[in-house]
Each structure stands twice: as structure tokens, then as C-alpha cells.
């Protein structure tokens, strides 16, 4: 290859034709980050840009971009890749993936970097449309679920009112009591529904503190031991010795554990077995903090297992709002964790919450950085 052919500013016609026919943006940048050559596709989208800094043309900014792939290539001669958002000549957003490669002269000196970019704007727009549709779908599903719950509550209230009136008409005290209990139950359900819905819809980052996971488990045992003992259900904590303190949102984890334990107790009550037991376990395995809530109650069959983490799904008829497990999953995911269930109908169930410590630590660092950056009186 001749000297002139390796100097991008002196390419001959053959290279020029090839350069301009490539169906992607191609620019050649010198060590000052000035565009010395740009192909037709680039001119069409970003405008003509001889000897102007690449960041001015691509991004309409005055300084170099952070993590600039061209700068990296100038540093190590290697190919680098990144996803970028630029501004086109009409002010439109252009999403592109860029690859940078070293361009050397005959003496093997790295004089320029070639940037080859693919416009992925249509793909991004499509992704955004899909995300939007998913969001709308979720809103629709939530509204439909809420309407379903409200209709059932209204029917319960209507029923309670009717039975009280009938009892009064017939002077039947038992009937009046039955209707009154229905009214009370459905008023309580309204309160629970509103509370659960608000807690579910609250989008917030977990408020992480360094807490003792074993202590959280003991708090839940204290909270439920009386209820469990009244129903002859054994409630047992199991805290492994190796469990260290961890950054968790204590109130969030408290909500998750109460939801799971209250479900487990309900499953024991629904079972005909004697000697029912709920175990709340916390352990550590390969850098993952694991909470388990296990019961030997009625269990969950396959069909129900498929639906338990969906909005407003409940097996408790009048007793549940169908938001408990969904809220639990949301809180766990906000901690970077996951939830799973192992169960067979009639053989009990085990819910597991997994929190990778690495992720918890990252979130904790992030949250302390954010709180330092906030004014003292902000919440």
C-alpha cells in the first residue's frame, strides 16, 4: 500500500467510492478528535463536518464524551465498541452503535481512528413502543384487577346489608349478626385493599441499612407466635451461624416475611393435617443471603403456582387482596434479589428469597452516595 493510500486525507477515487457506498456512518478522526473524513451517509444524517471536533458534530457538545471509544483506541490500538445517542442535523435523536479501529501509517504509527457506526434508531423506537405497550398493558391489568376486587367487595357489602335487613324483618338475631359480620369483613377488606394497593404502587428505592437478618427473623416469630400457637401451629426460627449482617431495607424485608408467614399459616389452617409447622430460616450460600419460609400445610398445585405472582390473584376468596406476593416480589427485586417457590399440592410449600450480597453492596454504596449528595433536610 502506498503512503498516500494509508493517509486518509489523500485517498484515491477507488477508496472514495467504497467509502461513500458503505451503508453506515464512517468517519476518520485525528488525535485532536477532529473529523478529517466522513462518508456520504454521515453527511446526510449529521451534516458536513470537515475539521470539526467529533463530539461537536455527533453530540453538539463542547467537550470530549466520557468513555470515548476513539480515545480508548488511540490509547491501546484495539477495537472498542459502545452505544451512543447523537443529534442529527435536523436536531433529531440518533441512536447508534459505534466501533472504533486504529488507522496506522506505513511506519505503523497510529495517526487516526476510524469510527464505523450503525444507526439503530428504528430498533430503539420499536423497543420503546414495546415497553410503552407493556406499561399500558400492566396498567390495564392492574385497573381490571382492582375493579374485580372492588366489585366483589361491593357484592359482599350489598349482601351484608341485605341479610341485616332480612334479619330485622324476621326478627332473627342470628341473621342480623351474620349480615353485620359480612359488613365488617368487607369494610376491613376495603382498608386492606387500599393499603396493599398503595404499598404495591409505591415505586421507591429500598432504604438500605446494615441489619442482622437473624434479628429480622426473630421479630417476625415474635409477631406471629401467639396467632400460630392459638391454631396449634408450630412456628420455628432457624438461623444459621454463618449469617452476617447485610444491607437490607428492614421495613421492606419485614413486609416480605410477614406476607410469606401469614400465607404459610393460612396454608396450615387450610390443611387437615395434625402437627403443622412453619419454619422461617435464614442462611448463607456462596455469597447469597437466603430467607426461606417453609410450611407443611395444604401446598400449592401447579395451576395456582403459575399465577401466584400475578396481580390480584388470590386463593383466599374473601380473605385476600391478591397483592401480597406481588408486593413481596417487587420489594425483593428492588433489592436485586429473586423469589421462588417449591411446592406440591397437599405437601406444603417453601418460598425462598435470594439476595446476592454483591448486588446488595452495590445498591448500598449507590444509596449512600445519593444520600450524601442530597441536602440535609431532604427525604
Amino acid at each position: 500500500m502506498s503512503e498516500s493510500s494509508t493517509n486518509p486525507e489523500q485517498w484515491d477515487d477507488g477508496y472514495e467510492i467504497l467509502f461513500n457506498s458503505v451503508p453506515c456512518y464512517v468517519t476518520v478522526i485525528d488525535r485532536d478528535f477532529r473529523i478529517v473524513r466522513a462518508n456520504d451517509a454521515f453527511h446526510d444524517s449529521f451534516g458536513y463536518a470537515p475539521n470539526i471536533h467529533c463530539y461537536e458534530v455527533y453530540k453538539h457538545r463542547d467537550t470530549k464524551c466520557r468513555g470515548c471509544p476513539a480515545e480508548k483506541t488511540f490509547g491501546d490500538s484495539k477495537i472498542h465498541r459502545s452505544n451512543q445517542v447523537g443529534v442529527g442535523k435536523k436536531g433529531q435523536k440518533i441512536y447508534y452503535t459505534v466501533r472504533t479501529s486504529a488507522l496506522k501509517d506505513v511506519r505503523r504509527n497510529l495517526t487516526h481512528v476510524i469510527e464505523i457506526s450503525n444507526d439503530v434508531t428504528p430498533l430503539r423506537k420499536l423497543e420503546e413502543r414495546v415497553r410503552q405497550a407493556e406499561r399500558l398493558g400492566a396498567v390495564g391489568q392492574t385497573v381490571a384487577g382492582l375493579a374485580h376486587s372492588i366489585k366483589n367487595i361491593l357484592m359482599g357489602l350489598e349482601g351484608g346489608k341485605y341479610i341485616v335487613s332480612l334479619g330485622l324483618e324476621k326478627n332473627n338475631k342470628e341473621m342480623i349478626n351474620q349480615g353485620w359480620e359480612m359488613l365488617e369483613r368487607n369494610f376491613d377488606k376495603t382498608t386492606s385493599l387500599v393499603k396493599d394497593f398503595l404499598s404495591f404502587s409505591k415505586g421507591r428505592l429500598p432504604r438500605l441499612e446494615i441489619v442482622d437478618p437473624g434479628k429480622l427473623v426473630m421479630e417476625i416469630v415474635d409477631l406471629y407466635k401467639e396467632v400460630a400457637s392459638r391454631s396449634s401451629i408450630e412456628l420455628a426460627p432457624e438461623i444459621d451461624d454463618g449469617v452476617r449482617s447485610a444491607p437490607l431495607d428492614p421495613s421492606g424485608i419485614h413486609t416480605c416475611l410477614t406476607n410469606l408467614v401469614s400465607n404459610a399459616l393460612d396454608a396450615c389452617l387450610a390443611s387437615d393435617k395434625k402437627g403443622t409447622k412453619v419454619t422461617i430460616r435464614v442462611k448463607e450460600k456462596k455469597g447469597v443471603l437466603i430467607f426461606q419460609v417453609e410450611d407443611n400445610g395444604s401446598g400449592i398445585d401447579y395451576e395456582i403456582k403459575k399465577k401466584i405472582f400475578t396481580t390480584f390473584f388470590t386463593t383466599k376468596g374473601g380473605g385476600g387482596t391478591g397483592l401480597g406476593l406481588l408486593t413481596t416480589r417487587k420489594i425483593i427485586e428492588e433489592h436485586g434479589g429473586t423469589i421462588s417457590v417449591v411446592s406440591q399440592s397437599g405437601k406444603g410449600a417453601r418460598f425462598e428469597m435470594h439476595f446476592p450480597r454483591k448486588r446488595l453492596l452495590e445498591l448500598y454504596r449507590q444509596s449512600t452516595r445519593n444520600s450524601k449528595g442530597q441536602p440535609a433536610n431532604s427525604k
Binding site: G160, Y162, I304, K307, G317
Partner: protein, 130 residues
Amino acid sequence: MKYRKKILVIDDEKDVLTYLSTFFADNDFAVVCAENGREGLKRAISDSPDVITLDISMPEESGVKLLRELQSGESTRKIPVIVITGVSSDLKRFLDNRNQIHSPEGYFEKPVDRDLLLTKVKEILKAAKK
């Protein structure tokens, strides 16, 4: 002794069951209740009700599946079914357009107007008599 018409109420909401069974009993029906689809099907076969009210959204077995089973069962296919549901009105269109399911004899959304429901039950029974 006067023969009382028998009605089977299927709903997973205990309060709805109590409400409807009290209402129908007060209107001189013999009432049988079922809290889920499986029990509902068993009751429909064993008790041969004159009419069934069926909730569509139940956790263990969906009411749509039960409706199909009732409509295809040898001993249950002639029992008129009134769907009572808390899910949206699109369900009616869905039921009306399914090949495998005949439209139910009645369709009510919760909370139901009990007088209209009673009128519908009487209408269905009267039509069945003819």
C-alpha cells in the same frame, strides 16, 4: 308438599355464597352451594339443580372451564347456567364468540341487582317448563 326449585350457587367468595343462598332461600328455592369449580361440577351431577349461578373468576378451576364441562356433560348439559362475574364486560363477548362454549342463559356483573337476577331465574325456569 310443594316441590321447590333447586338452585346451585358456585362462587369462591364466601360472602357472595352466603348472600345469594340467603336470597334464593328467602325466595322459596332449595339452595346448594359450592366454593370452587371441582365441587361445583360434583354438585351439579349429584344434586341435579334446576339452574346454576356460576362465578367465572375462581382460583382453582376457572368458571369458563367449568361452563364448558357442564355444557358437555351427559347429565348436566341441559341445566341452565347464569354467569355472575366480577371481571369486565368483555367476558360476555368472549363467551358469546367461543365455538366450544354456548352462550350462558344469563349474564350478570357483580354487584348484581338481585331483583333482576330473580326475574331472570324465573324466566329461565318458565322457559324450561314449556
